[in-house]
């Protein structure tokens, strides 16, 4: 598989372009796409509108009215109330550590399973797949007792360990199928050059599959960032909580504070959104990239 050969032509013939421009179907498609785009960003828009609306305006105008003036108190109050800076840091440090360790573990596993072709690798893969399909609710009690025994209950380390394993299970599964298609020419060449197994991994396999690893890293980071259930169970102290858990503070027994919930929602997703924008280039490079250069 080569990347360079099937790149699409960037410059279509001028005459064809003119013909296409006159085609009314194109406008319909464009209008349809715009409508779709609007549907997709509508929830975000509504959150943003309500985030900068005062509770009284919300009470008199409802969720869809535009705020008469910008009201930042909701965001500021929420930030101070839950010490949001601390939560951001907790989320960042756990997500980042999980992403790094998860990718590392996936690479090592997949190298053994995909390229090393260890015995019974099919069963390993089935095992990892099943581990992926298990709902987290099933894992809660065993993990709770284990972490209590190990003294890791109410500690970020427990979350890092748990999610490294969960994410690496998916990573191993995906990366193994990528490595099974790994060009044997490269491996043979490395072998001929006298590279050992480790050397082959670090100098050949990892650099070639770097785009895939980048994708995994980004996904692991965002997935871990958005995790709610297990952090809710394991991070008891407020000082240890992550962003999604902190957002839960606003959901009361019977009442909810819509404007402040929107504010918190907005500042809660911004970091993940930013991260996504920064790393979207690695995502577009494709999940199964790999080439003989």
């Amino acid at each position: 598989m080569t990347v360079t050969a099937n790149r699409p032509k960037t410059e279509p013939e001028p005459t064809v372009r003119a013909e296409k421009r006159a085609n009314p179907v194109r406008f319909l498609v464009l209008a349809g796409l715009l409508a779709l785009l609007l549907i997709i960003i509508a929830p975000l828009l509504i959150i943003t509108i309500n985030a900068v609306k005062s509770p009284a305006d919300y009470a008199s105008g409802g969720p869809l009215s535009l705020p008469p003036s910008l009201y930042w108190d909701g965001i500021v109050d929420f930030w101070n109330r839950v010490d949001f800076g601390q939560k951001l840091w907790n989320s960042f440090i756990t997500s980042f550590t999980v992403a790094v360790l998860g990718v590392l573990l996936s690479v090592l596993n997949a190298y053994a399973l995909g390229i090393g072709k260890v015995k019974g690798r099919l069963w390993f893969l089935v095992f990892f797949l099943v581990a992926n399909l298990l709902p987290q609710e099933v894992l809660v009690y065993p993990l709770y007792f284990l972490s209590k025994e190990a003294g890791l209950y109410d500690s970020l380390i427990s979350i890092v360990i748990i999610f490294t394993v969960i994410q690496a299970a998916f990573g191993t599964y995906l990366l193994t199928s990528v490595y099974q298609e790994f060009p044997t020419e490269l491996l043979d060449a490395a072998d001929v050059d006298g590279a050992g197994k480790l050397r082959t991994l670090w100098s050949v396999v990892v650099p070639v599959s770097r785009p895939t690893l980048g994708v995994l890293f980004t996904f692991f980071f965002i997935w871990t960032w958005n995790e709610f259930f297990l952090p809710l169970v394991f991070l008891v102290s407020n000082d240890n909580q992550t962003v999604p858990v902190a957002l839960g503070v606003l959901q009361g027994d019977r009442l909810m504070d819509v404007t402040m919930t929107s504010s918190s929602g907005l500042i809660g997703i911004l970091p993940a959104l930013l991260f996504f924008l920064i790393f979207q280039r690695t995502l577009t490079r494709g999940i199964t990239a790999g080439a003989i250069k």
Binding site: P55, A56, Y58, A59, S60, G61, G62, P63, R81, V82, Y144, F145, K148, Y153, D154, L232, V233, V236, S237, N238, V245, G248, V249, L250, Q251, G252, D253, R254, L255, M256, D257, V258
Partner: protein, 437 residues
């Protein structure tokens, strides 16, 4: 009784796992002085800082600090969800707080008390007079028996506030159609007829959540007495779902829908949207709990509003609020008791009342805010008649969703009242059978 060894050890393991270390603490806490020399009191609750409870409890923490110099109070605001989901796991670990707010009810405080995770407060409560401050329907939710069922047994919690269901009305709209506050159910019906004649839907209802079932329950209560409530809520005697109370409730609710008091589309409306539609002035009447009160005081700017009790009823849906509980693993029990004592003081109770809450032990004279006075006077009236009838979804686990579905069927006309009563009787009776009653 012969069991296999494997079964026995599995049972033992399960017991050890579920009770965990909780049982160890129970043996040596004979005196209330335990933990009096602790230097830290960790305290959790999940009320917002601007809510009546949040304000009053902040003040209580300050008072506690000044009466206990040298003790550090580690307060953490928790999320309702986190406590609801994980209380059992947290209280069974070393991360348990010394005192915390927790939900009343069989499935929550009852369950934890049964598992030995909560401290028995019976002795402390009579010594410090908390029991005298609470009338008997308020005390129902503080006591749990050995099976974790409320109403009798030991005291495991202390509530500071109460809640009850009342009728909110838009004074401007009442004035527009020359209507008076109704005092009987007939008058109430006439008021709603007037609105319907003028093409105004009278009731804001959230059929997708708790509000609709509380209306049905209020209607049933209009034909009920305390003995029936005890039968329904505390399983004293078997309840006939086709009896005069619930049958009347379901039939009348259906009539209200047919007459147009309740909009057909309200089956899909959430409680939050119901509240907002009332604050927007779209509906003249809303039947719901006192928990809206503080919010309406702050947020309704466009019209005058007021409240009255469900006309003609002596019994109203409502109960004590959430409880202060002391986990069995608390390291500062004596300090926790001192803190509860402070929250029951008149000035803290008055502060609660002046901020839109319903204090359990307030002197109405100490409530200066005229708006809040109305709320508390109504409550004192209910409380004086011992009229808190709890909530319809309490008797069985998962009953809330059963009731929501049943009442939705009534609103959108897909089920007859009899079908709905059959449908909601089934899980209720099954729960009774599970409890062996």
């Amino acid at each position: 009784m012969i069991r296999s060894r494997a079964g026995l050890s599995a049972g033992a393991l399960l017991l050890a796992a579920s009770l965990g270390l909780a049982a160890c603490g129970g043996s040596d806490d004979s005196s209330s002085e335990e933990g009096a020399d602790a230097k830290v009191l960790s305290l959790w609750h999940y009320e917002g800082p601007n809510s009546a409870m949040g304000i009053a409890w902040n003040k209580a923490i300050e008072e506690f600090k000044s009466s206990h110099p040298g003790v550090e109070v580690k307060f953490e605001e928790k999320s309702f969800e986190q406590i609801q989901q994980n209380a059992q796991m947290i209280l069974n670990s070393d991360s348990a707080p010394d005192i915390m707010e927790y939900n009343k009810g069989n499935a929550t405080a009852g369950l934890l008390s049964k598992q030995g995770l909560l401290t028995d407060l019976t002795e402390e409560s009579s010594k410090r007079g908390w029991d005298k401050a609470l009338n008997s329907s308020l005390q129902t939710t503080t006591k749990y028996d050995d099976d974790g069922i409320m109403g009798s047994g030991k005291t495991f919690g202390v509530p500071n506030y109460a809640e009850y269901v009342e009728v909110y009305y838009n004074k401007d709209l009442f004035k527009k159609y020359n209507l008076q506050v109704p005092t009987t159910l007939d008058e109430f019906t006439k008021v709603m007829d007037t609105f319907v004649q003028n093409k105004v839907t009278p009731l804001a209802v959230g059929g997708a959540e708790y509000p609709a079932q509380q209306i049905l329950y209020s209607l049933a209560l209009s034909k009920a007495d305390r003995a029936w409530v005890d039968d329904y809520q505390l399983y004293k005697n078997k309840v006939d779902f086709k009896g005069p109370q619930l049958k009347y409730g379901a039939d009348t609710f259906k009539q209200w829908v047919d007459k147009g008091y309740i909009a057909k589309n309200s089956a899909g409306i959430k409680a939050e949207d119901m509240g907002v539609s009332f604050t927007q002035g779209k509906f003249p009447i809303m039947i719901s709990g006192s928990w809206w009160y503080g919010r309406f005081v702050n947020e309704i700017k466009g019209f005058e509003w007021g409240t009255f009790l469900f006309p003609g009823n002596k019994l109203h849906p409502g109960s004590s609020g959430n409880l202060w509980v002391v986990p069995e693993k608390s390291k500062a029990k004596a300090l926790a008791y001192d803190f509860i004592d402070i929250t029951m003081k008149p000035e803290i109770q008055a502060l609660l009342g002046n901020n839109g809450g319903v204090p359990v032990a307030a002197d109405a004279a100490a409530i200066t805010d005229p708006k809040n006075k109305e709320l508390i006077e109504n409550f004192n009236k209910v409380s004086g008649e011992d009229g808190l009838a709890f909530y319809p979804d309490w008797p069985a686990p998962g009953y809330y969703d059963v009731l929501v579905a049943g009442v939705q069927g009534l609103i959108n006309g897909s089920k007859t009242p009899d079908q709905v009563l059959d449908e909601i009787a089934k899980p209720y009776d099954e729960n009774l059978a599970d409890l062996g009653k």
